[in-house]
Subunit: 424 residues, 2 copies
């Protein structure tokens, strides 16, 4: 169809770059998600420029208006990235039963809450108070430091063969809770960035709205799916349960975007609601191929927004290293403190295990950039922080677990959250 051939080629090049880089990073024992980000930096407009510019066919659609054609390319890229991250959060939601989160011990709750508060305060304090950036910028950086990447952490713990250990169980439960807390914080900072207001009253209003939306959808939705979910099999449409779960994903994503929350919050909640019925209808197995097709677009497009020349900027790299140090220190101090009484090694393992930020930090930073709430240099700082925290955790965990006596590991235990968790 006219105008879309060049975009189709771009979609191929992005997918190819993602898969090549992912394969390379898997082979050097690093998370594929880092490879996908770096691939985006390399093929993006600031470096090789293999993607992101309109071709002649598309420019013809816009009657020769190159600026408009470029905007159209940006819109398509944003939409594909948005679909990718919506599917990603939907998938993570499918891994997250409401009941599992409610049932989880106070220990995991404490790890999650302290692991959210300490990094946020440290990030906000450094960028906003010590360096004097506007508070909205500092809020986005703080929010980007909040959420542990469940995917990356679970993958590392599974690769180490310690997924059944007590620390692993706490880490995975706490990572789920801090994802939810991150959604609330993200809703607040997004609302503040969108409305432009930063009064305490509006922060509280948005926070309350986000919490109410989350609680309402999670509890009512989960109840509805528990009560009527098995009836989905009686619908005549092909594979109705999966179709309805996708409908919920798109519908709640649209709804939360419309009311000023991030679209991914709705997608995550849709997944969490359908987690009630996931085993009966094999929803995770069905969501996985969609995830594998669309999610690379988020990471590569995010990477393509980073200008590699910023890495040559000493001041910026200094800031990135400071933020990374705070990101690590914040989780180790906060989560470690919540583990008081369980021994130093366990404190260290949980703190380090909660450190990788991965996709959620990138989501927060990408949202901040697209809302023009943070400038390009702070966006790049967050991307560098995400990459470094993710690179640091696996070897540290390997060392910490290698030093641990075998008795503390429960090898026969069931994997708590990592059933189908894909490679991130």
């Amino acid at each position: 169809m006219q105008g879309v051939t060049g975009l189709l080629v771009d979609l191929f090049v992005i997918f190819l770059a993602a898969k090549l880089a992912g394969e390379l990073f898997e082979r050097i024992n690093q998370p594929a998600v880092i490879g996908e980000l770096l691939a985006g930096i390399v093929i993006g407009p600031a470096a090789l420029g293999l993607i992101g510019t309109p071709d002649a066919g598309l420019i013809a659609v816009f009657h020769g208006d190159i600026v408009a054609a470029q905007e159209a390319v940006n819109v398509v890229y944003h939409l594909m990235a948005e679909l990718g991250v919506i599917v990603l959060l939907f998938f993570v939601g499918l891994e997250t039963r409401v009941a599992d989160v409610v049932r989880v011990g106070t220990r995991a709750m404490a790890v999650a809450v302290l692991g959210v508060i300490v990094p946020f305060v440290l990030g906000f304090g450094l960028v906003g108070l010590a360096l004097g950036h506007p508070h909205i910028e500092a809020s986005f950086v703080g929010a980007a430091l909040v959420a542990t990447s469940v995917g990356i952490t679970a993958r590392v713990l599974r690769d180490l063969g310690v997924i059944g250990s007590i620390e692993s169980r706490i880490i995975l439960a706490a990572a789920v809770i801090d994802d939810i807390l991150a959604m609330v914080i993200l809703a607040v900072v997004t609302g503040v960035a969108t409305t432009g207001s930063i009064s305490m009253a509006s922060i509280i209003a948005i926070g309350v709205q986000a919490v109410l939306f989350t609680l309402f959808v999670a509890l009512v939705g989960a109840g509805v799916v528990r009560r009527f979910g098995l009836g989905l099999g009686r619908l005549r449409m092909d594979n109705a349960p999966f179709a309805v779960s996708l409908l919920a994903m798109l519908g709640l994503a649209s709804l939360s975007a419309q009311i000023g929350l991030a679209a991914i919050i709705g997608a995550f909640l849709a997944g969490m609601v359908f987690a009630e019925a996931r085993e009966h209808f094999e929803l995770e197995h069905q969501a996985l191929p969609v995830y594998q097709f669309l999610t690379p677009y988020f990471f590569v497009v995010t990477g393509s927004q980073v200008d590699w020349r910023l890495f040559l900027d000493g001041g910026l790299m200094g800031l990135a290293l400071m933020v990374t140090a705070l990101a690590l220190a914040g989780k180790i101090a906060g989560c470690g403190a919540a583990m008081t009484g369980m021994g130093r090694r366990s404190m260290a393992i949980v703190g380090v295990g909660m450190a990788p930020r991965g996709e959620v930090g990138l989501i927060v930073a990408g949202l901040g950039l697209s809302l023009r709430a943070i400038p390009a240099d702070l966006f790049s700082v967050v991307v560098i922080m995400s990459i470094l925290t993710t690179l640091v955790a696996p070897p540290l965990l390997r060392i910490l677990y290698a030093a641990q006596p075998e008795a503390a590991v429960e090898p026969g235990a069931e994997e708590p959250q990592a059933g189908l968790l894909p490679d991130l």
Copy 2:
């Protein structure tokens, strides 16, 4: 992200309309694909106007230029429809082993070839010679009459419980061959429409190019997958076989679009090549959810391009009914003639079974419209023809099979091509 919230809502509305209409049509024992098309007509800009217009956020991205924002919406719709139909043809390709096509008896080949030639000649003759339309328009109408919808036919035969009958086997094999022939014809008419030339030399050149591309990719690709396919499991990336098959889908679709063939030809060939490894890696099971997510966008967007007011135009409806009659007569005469010697009932069953045009006719018409090779009224004629041929076949087949003695059916026989074929 800025500007895409309205598009996200559109994607939700399209998916919702597709699923509601599909459910409704399944309940009245009609193919869901018809429901999706009609849903597109109803929610499209010419009727309710629920989709297809830019929202304020998107217009702001284009600095208030509503025309450019509208073009951007059109580009996004075309891209989503294109992705949907690429995934559809990839999936149909996965159902089509090269060896099955090569091995199939001369009977199925004769049914396919006569079932292609007779409708094309009738369609071209009516529109081009009798009604005096330009030859390029007549070619697109003829090409839209060529291909049987494997999906719809297989679904109907399975619902009737006669998938093991000898007629069913011939129908399914012939439908696969005529898909391939349709691809070649489509390549020729697309090439002619794109280059603007209609000399016999260029038609032959494009035909040869299409046949060579098809044969080269199908035979060499199938050989490569047979030889090295099982080695894909050794790659480190997550679920490498599926990822590589998606890469082939996007890559061959882009390549065939770049060299002037339709993108779907490459997607179909990619599927056919990976059909060699589909069972080992469960590629169909994995492609199915992606298909279910993206394919409705093709049918709803196609429907949304039909202006329902054309149905009130007596002359146009008369033409549509004439083309539909030729579409039915062409397949019944052509395919029936190829069944000479197997009895009248079998001739009728194969002729009627090959009649539903469904998605391929729509693909041809949509391509013709977007290339501006056919006007909007002929596009609507083809859409009406696709709908009517698909509506007529199931009840006729039911009657023909009800009259048939049980002995002619082989109930224990394996389903030849209909393994995972989804509801169309």
